[in-house]
């Protein structure tokens, strides 16, 4: 589904601030995989997503998406097949536009000059009703009035509306309160399994990294240092993960957020 072959990226090359953010990353994501990605701050997790989405072009290596070489394809062209959620719930929807208008835009159906018809709008309502948040009765309200959790749930709906080939979740529940985070996470797993989406999820929560999905990878200093799936992964505990991190990177995981989680 998604293949990264020897991908590298250096930020600020040739300056004292030069930083190797992705170091010869090779990753093969299979169709239907739900991969959780863990690693300390600055390990290159978000950079990996940015490389896949085309927020920047990588310095070397190849990125294949569903068999097509997208290495030099601009961001907005890749976005048609990639759904993406950020940590900041404000980032994924337009606050001054109504829920309905945001959904019309996200659905991406019809040509530039097309309007959304009654039938299409009803379909949006029906899908929103699945969120159990009462949003289907607030279709005409501006998105700016929604809470962070509601907005993130809406963004999740928007990201999956056009049936992307791959869904990238960048700590999408980290900015929400625990109750809402749980609800959004539950919603995520439901939508992913119902549509059998291929999904990559960055998380700081070690437990949910092991609980969710079928595969876990760990990153450090721009490299994938650990990749586990199947029975081996099923037997892992959070302590095992910390040990593996220590063994792979030669340092202690010094991220409070990660240890506490």
């Amino acid at each position: 589904m998604l293949k990264l072959i020897h991908v590298s990226k250096t930020f600020n090359p040739g300056t004292p601030d030069a930083r190797l953010a992705l170091d010869d990353v090779t990753l093969d994501v299979n169709r239907g995989d739900f991969i959780s990605i863990i690693g300390a701050n600055g390990a290159g997790k978000s950079t990996l997503f940015n490389a896949v989405c085309g927020s920047f072009f990588v310095d070397s290596g190849t990125i294949l998406l569903d068999g097509a070489n997208v290495t030099m394809l601009p961001e907005h062209k890749r976005a048609k097949v990639i759904g993406r959620l950020f940590q900041d719930p404000m980032r994924g929807s337009a606050p001054g536009m109504s829920i309905e208008e945001n959904l019309v835009l996200a659905a991406g159906q019809g040509g530039w000059m097309s309007h959304a018809g009654k039938k299409e709008k009803q379909a949006f309502r029906d899908r929103l009703a699945l969120l159990n948040m009462g949003l289907e009765d607030r279709m005409k309200q501006p998105v700016g009035l929604l809470s962070g959790g509601q907005r993130q749930a809406l963004t999740l709906m928007m990201a999956t509306l056009s049936m992307p080939k791959i869904l990238l979740l960048d700590e999408h529940t980290a900015a929400l309160d625990p109750g809402t985070a749980e609800k959004v996470l539950e919603l995520t797993t439901r939508i992913v399994s119902e549509n059998s989406l291929t999904c990559l999820m960055i998380t700081h929560n070690m437990q949910s990294a092991l609980d969710l999905g079928n595969r876990t990878i760990m990153m450090d200093a721009g490299r994938v240092v650990f990749d586990t799936t199947g029975p081996e992964r099923a037997a892992l505990t959070v302590d095992d993960l910390l040990d593996r991190f220590h063994a792979a990177s030669g340092k202690k995981l010094d991220n409070d957020r990660m240890l506490l989680a």
């Binding site: 993406r84 001054g96 536009m97 835009l105 530039w112 000059m113």
Partner: protein, 312 residues
């Protein structure tokens, strides 16, 4: 003052407000929707006036309108390319194009900074001729202004509901979201500026033909006047649906004219108009900000005077 004089003054003010309203609607698209402050507005207004005048003088009164709008689109395209493809800051892109247009406009007018259309057939003289003898005979300019404003509002209402229109609004509303979506912000910004500048040029074209002359500085200060009108309109019909907000923009143009007319009635000289428009823009933009800051200022002041009491 005789009643007919007041009526005449009112009618002229109404006509001017309608022609200016087209520029206000252009800014409604670029400033309110796309969130780009298009400082090429002044030059583009004059460009529309110059192109419209030259084409009309050449004997094609109907062609003058699409020609002016086309020229406006080119100007908008230039501004858009500068800011989306060539790394020029969006405000600077507008200023650069505005400056360049000054030369272009004089060049279009054949090296002169003034063109006279006293004996030229324009859309106004044509309609005047057609309406001769009918009860609406004297309202020809008003009719043209009303039609133009109605067409532009109708277009905006329909256009902003399409997927492209929504994409343009999203580009102004949340650029972060658009950048990581399948919408190309370069494309939406370019389309938005082309359309808005075609309205600005139409506005200039109609004003010039109605007053039967063009000077190269016909558009000077237009961006501030239009922005003032837009913000006044926002006070009445802000946070509403798109059609109402567009109508509000036109209403703002009327209110601005009214303020201007009243100011003149108080024997304020005509050259004060630009200062008035500047002050209105400042009040409209900083008013809500100051209102929000006021409690803080009050506390800061109180703290300053109560300093001696600290530590007691």
């Amino acid at each position: 003052m005789a009643f007919s004089t007041i009526l005449g003054l009112g009618q002229t003010a109404l006509e001017l407000a309608l022609f200016n309203a087209l520029t206000v609607l252009a800014l409604f698209l670029s400033y309110s929707m796309l969130n780009v402050c298009d400082l090429s507005t002044d030059g583009c207004f004059a460009l529309g006036a110059a192109v419209g005048a030259v084409v009309a003088i050449a004997g094609h009164p109907w062609l003058s309108i699409p020609a002016a709008m086309g020229a406006g689109m080119l100007s908008g395209l230039t501004t858009a390319v500068l800011q989306t493809r060539m790394g020029v800051n969006s405000l600077l892109a507008g200023i650069i194009v505005n400056t360049g247009l000054y030369s272009v406009n004089i060049w279009i007018m054949g090296g002169s900074s003034l063109l006279n259309m006293n004996k030229t057939e324009t859309v106004f003289t044509m309609l005047k001729e057609a309406l001769k003898g009918s009860p609406l005979g004297a309202q020809y300019a008003l009719i043209i202004g009303l039609i133009a404003v109605a067409v532009v509002i109708a277009f905006l209402c329909l256009f902003l509901r399409t997927k492209l229109g929504l994409a343009i609004r999203a580009t102004g509303d949340n650029p972060d979201m658009v950048r990581s979506s399948s919408i190309n912000p370069v494309f939406t910004t370019t389309v938005g500026l082309c359309i808005s500048n075609s309205f600005t040029a139409l506005s200039g074209c109609l004003l010039a033909q109605s007053q039967k002359s063009v000077t190269v500085d016909i558009g000077s200060g237009m961006v501030t006047v239009a922005l003032a009108s837009l913000l006044i309109g926002g006070v009445f019909l802000g946070r509403r649906s798109i059609p109402l907000r567009a109508v509000g923009a036109v209403l703002g143009a009327f209110v601005f004219r009214l303020v201007y007319t009243i100011a003149l009635r108080f024997n304020l000289p005509a050259f004060m108009l630009k200062l008035i428009s500047s002050v209105i823009v400042v009040i409209a933009i900083s008013g809500p900000y100051l209102k929000k800051q006021f409690p803080l200022y009050k506390r800061l002041l109180a703290a300053k005077f109560a300093k001696s009491g600290v530590g007691e």
